[in-house]
Assembly symmetry: C2
Homo-oligomer: 276 residues x 2
């Protein structure tokens, strides 16, 4: 999915919501455990219930890998299901990969050829040759960690150099120079609130993938105030708050209701800012 298609989807669905598929067998409704592939059954129901409100789905690889081969199978089936039934909806593999050049090339092959996701999250610590192998694919995106939503983001990401520039800023500027706003996005946690103002000075045009609204405590209103661009420029993720809204047989309806609530709030924001 290219930038223009992404923006069209945002305008059509009046939403910039991403639903995070952090599917955990210990948390899904227990009646699903009798299915052949409970992870996929759960995902399918969540996807069908929320696709009209969401512009993207984000399977978190840790939650699939932890079940070994059967988990990978569930991941692949989930990606195929979305691409077959909701082709206007982006799939972001949240995998936080990144390694030396020849290995990153294999990861790119894994996610952009084997599994056909639209975007992949990548960690920046290993530098240029760990990121550029992901940039050679048409209509695919690398989503690089900028300033993350967790407590540990303060350990290293805010370290300042001799000029007072924080590490995340140096990283975002440099990474941005290796590609374009058409193939690079950045992860910026919703918990970082006002930092979005500073971040828009660093990357005025890039899409930002924003986790941390909901269970992690970030505010959609604050993120939108400082982070929106004329093309929207934000993909805001919610995982646990939507997919675990109910642990009964009504879980798809409960997830749809939560997604619809967030989408309504987003529609109002997009209207107010005259983006739609």
């Amino acid at each position: 999915m290219n930038r223009q298609q992404l923006i069209e989807t945002i305008r059509r669905k009046k939403s910039f919501l991403c639903v995070g598929l952090d599917t955990d067998l210990a948390k899904i409704p227990q009646h699903l455990l009798e299915a052949d592939d409970p992870i996929f059954e759960f995902n399918k129901a969540i996807i069908d219930a929320t696709a009209q409100y969401a512009i993207a789905f984000k399977p978190n690889l840790a939650f699939y890998e932890c079940y070994g081969v059967s988990g990978w199978l569930a991941f692949e089936k989930t990606v195929d299901y979305i691409k077959t039934n909701y082709s206007d909806t982006m799939v972001i593999a949240d995998a936080k990969r990144g390694d030396i050049g020849n290995t990153s090339k294999m990861y790119a092959k894994c996610f952009f050829e084997q599994s056909k996701v639209d975007a992949l999250t990548v960690a920046p610590y290993m530098g240029e040759d760990s990121i550029t192998p992901f940039l050679g694919y048409d209509s695919r995106w690398v989503v690089v960690l900028g300033l993350t939503s967790n407590k540990g983001s303060h350990d290293f990401q805010l370290i300042t150099d001799a000029n007072g520039t924080p590490l995340f800023e140096t990283i975002m500027r440099k990474v941005a120079s290796w590609g374009t706003p058409d193939n690079i996005m950045f992860v910026v946690g919703a918990t970082q609130g006002k930092m979005f103002e500073q971040i828009r000075q660093i990357v005025p045009d890039h899409f930002l993938l924003v986790p941390g609204v909901g269970a992690q405590g970030g505010s959609l209103e604050e993120v939108a105030r400082y982070g929106l661009t004329t093309d929207c420029g934000l993909i805001v993720n919610s995982s646990r708050g939507i997919i675990y809204a109910s642990d009964g047989t009504d879980f798809p309806q409960a997830a749809a209701e939560k997604a619809r609530e967030i989408q309504s709030e987003m529609q109002k924001i997009l209207n107010d800012k005259k983006i739609i």
Copy 2:
């Protein structure tokens, strides 16, 4: 495998060699492609041929994931094969994972419960809660990126703060404080040569996993001169130089020969330093 067992294996095998299993279908001998599981067949032959010279094997997850479900199956069979037949040999999953706390916990479950590897490589950018979930497992190790072997290591890892301290040093000191030399190792690339002297001032007792000897151009002699401790303290990896030593049917013998050469050099070094 705990620290004492690791040191005993090093002394018994007179080696600190790790064989990297970067198994690529495009590079393995073509007659193997007729097998049901060519990746596993190749690995099994390499493992049997080199286990007497190696104290560890390091499957690089990118090379398995890129084949989807069948790749994961080959990875799991490879780990089981090593743990069943060469239980004194360490298995390091080279996966460079790391995410927010609840996700890192799932990755720990994946690698330390589902697949039973001894050690996992992890990227430090997301800070404390991305690393500590891996530390709660007895006799397992988290191997955190310090100063890597690739060209891109210069992009961010060497950035100095207002006191002139490079980022990798701040990271290694802080990460070391979250665990002990019994459950944390660091990745330091062999291509960094003399930097090992500085690194031993930061982490005098930790084991270092050292990629970059061989295809990437690092020198074993230089790494050993500055990096060895009285407990050895080094695990030096070679991947392509060993596993692709021949592309004919004699590939196991050619790999064994390359591994034996490196092991001999290591034995001499360990003798000279009176570690064995």
